[in-house]
């Protein structure tokens, strides 16, 4: 009998190949998922720790604070602001550059807070993040403006108080120049007394004005000037809405406070504060629109025998 020569491909082999490849596939899939989960967990932890770091950065009596946060690796910070609710929400999530697989993994679970206001680009990327914190008073303290950046900026002929502040805090990556042509090429120019820069600031008086950025006009009052310069316009508007809502709630709180202190200190100005809160509660109102009322309330408060704030 003639025996045919050739490789025997029995059922055993077929079984081994099928089951083996299935096991290998499951193992690789599980390993990738575990790796992804590990990265996501790490990023979530990092975002929570960043949130913890941001609390001590807030001001109490200081006119501002400046810090550099050093991240363990090249990091992308995603800044998200939500207007919904009585105070809105601040969300920060992080994505760390990976040496394996996709360069930038999906960001972790965001750190969320109702009383923080982070002004930045939508995505800030870098190993070192510059954080500049300024309190915002209108006329009472509303909150701290946490400005995060890591791009280079060049301020062209800023007002004296702005220049003094930048120099005294030693803001990294912010140059001051008399002429736009002297600015570093890779920097974002900010003009104060002229136009033709990437960002142009138009000062109305010593506290308010407007900023032209990305073909959009942002209105600022007091320390919001810095927030407007360093922030993405959409984020700026959202954070302003949140600040306005908190300012309105604080006005109501001070109005209620007058009830307890009026017996001891005479009448306050609860009605005016309630009116001010209503004005601030209006969606279409800007801080600059009610700046006069705010200043008047501030002056009245100073004249009280027991000031409210």
């Amino acid at each position: 009998m003639n025996e045919k020569k050739g490789m025997e491909f029995s059922f055993t082999w077929l079984f081994v190949l099928l089951v083996g490849s299935a096991i290998l596939f499951i193992a690789i899939f599980a390993a990738t998922r575990i790796l992804d989960l590990g990265t996501e967990e790490y990023q979530t932890k990092l975002a929570a720790e960043l949130g913890t770091i941001l609390s001590p950065l807030e001001t109490s009596l200081e006119s501002g604070k400046y810090y550099t946060i050093k991240m363990p690796d090249e990091t992308r910070l995603f800044n998200n602001c939500e207007e919904a609710g009585p105070f809105g929400k601040q969300e920060i999530s992080l994505s760390v550059k990976s040496g394996l697989g996709k360069e930038w993994q999906r960001s972790g679970v965001p750190y969320s807070s109702s009383n923080k206001y982070v002004f930045s680009d939508e995505i800030v990327q870098g190993k070192n993040l510059d954080v500049f914190v300024k309190p915002f008073n209108f006329p009472y303290k509303i909150g701290d403006l946490i400005i995060i950046y890591n791009k280079k900026y060049c301020f062209v002929s800023p007002p004296e108080d702005v220049e003094d502040e930048i120099l005294s805090f030693g803001l990294r990556n912010v140059n001051i120049s008399k002429n736009k042509n002297n600015c570093p090429i890779d920097s974002t120019s900010v003009c104060f007394k002229s136009t033709g820069c990437d960002i142009n600031v138009f000062i109305d008086d010593d506290k308010s004005g407007s900023i032209k950025k990305n073909k959009k006009t942002l209105y600022y009052y007091d320390s919001l000037l810095y927030a407007g310069i360093f922030s993405e316009p959409e984020l700026y508007e959202c954070q302003l809405t949140r600040l306005r809502k908190r300012a309105s709630q604080l006005a109501l709180l001070y109005a209620e406070k007058t009830q307890f202190s009026s017996e001891r200190c005479g009448s306050g100005f609860a009605d005016e504060l309630e009116l001010f809160a209503n004005r601030l509660g209006n969606e279409n109102i800007r801080f600059t629109d009610v700046a006069f009322e705010a200043e008047e309330i501030g002056e009245k408060n100073e004249r009280l025998s027991c000031p409210l704030f």
Partner: protein
């Protein structure tokens, strides 16, 4: 001549052996995975709790400087405006303001100590002759952190009156 029945029987035995080995392998790795994930989950819970605790410590230290608590009449970083905090107690808008992980916020007057006012919750009838203002109290397990502060308010007789107190912050524990 080959005995095909014997060969087929041996082949079946081999397949069964292999199937058993594979099942054993899968069970072994499943057990290892369960063991790994239980340890990982345990450490994750611990880490989450540590981070929450760190956050609480950071928050409680800075709570006296927030706009809702701070005494802004004088330059005092750890002074709390007691009237404002009492007014805050009635403001429903602030219920969700402090975050989901915060279970308890209390402001307690500790000095001068008064036996009659001990643990007396402040309300519109007894304020300021009381020593406890509870701003938030959720019915859940928590670990607490405290920070000593000065509780200030205007007094009709002596003007600004500051007493020693503390802010107690409870963070949800797992």
């Amino acid at each position: 001549m080959k005995d095909y029945r014997a060969l087929s029987f041996r082949g079946q035995i081999k397949i069964q052996q292999m199937a058993f080995v594979l099942v054993a392998f899968v069970l072994f790795f499943a057990l290892v995975a369960v063991f790994y994930f239980s340890i990982k989950l345990g450490s994750l819970r611990e880490e989450a709790s540590t981070i929450r605790h760190e956050q609480a410590q950071a928050v409680v230290k800075k709570l006296s400087s927030t706009a809702e608590f701070s005494w802004t009449v004088d330059d005092c970083s750890s002074c709390v405006d007691l009237d404002k905090v009492f007014a805050l107690k009635n403001r429903t808008a602030y219920k969700g303001f402090w975050g989901n992980s915060i279970s308890l916020i209390q402001v307690r007057k500790i000095y001068p100590y008064s036996d009659t006012n001990a643990n007396k919750e402040c309300n519109s009838g007894n304020y300021p002759n009381c020593n406890l203002i509870t701003l938030l109290s959720k019915n859940e397990n928590y670990t607490s952190d405290e920070a000593f502060v000065a509780l200030c308010r205007f007094d009709a007789d002596i003007g600004v009156k500051c007493e020693l107190g503390k802010i107690i912050l409870g963070v949800k524990s797992t």
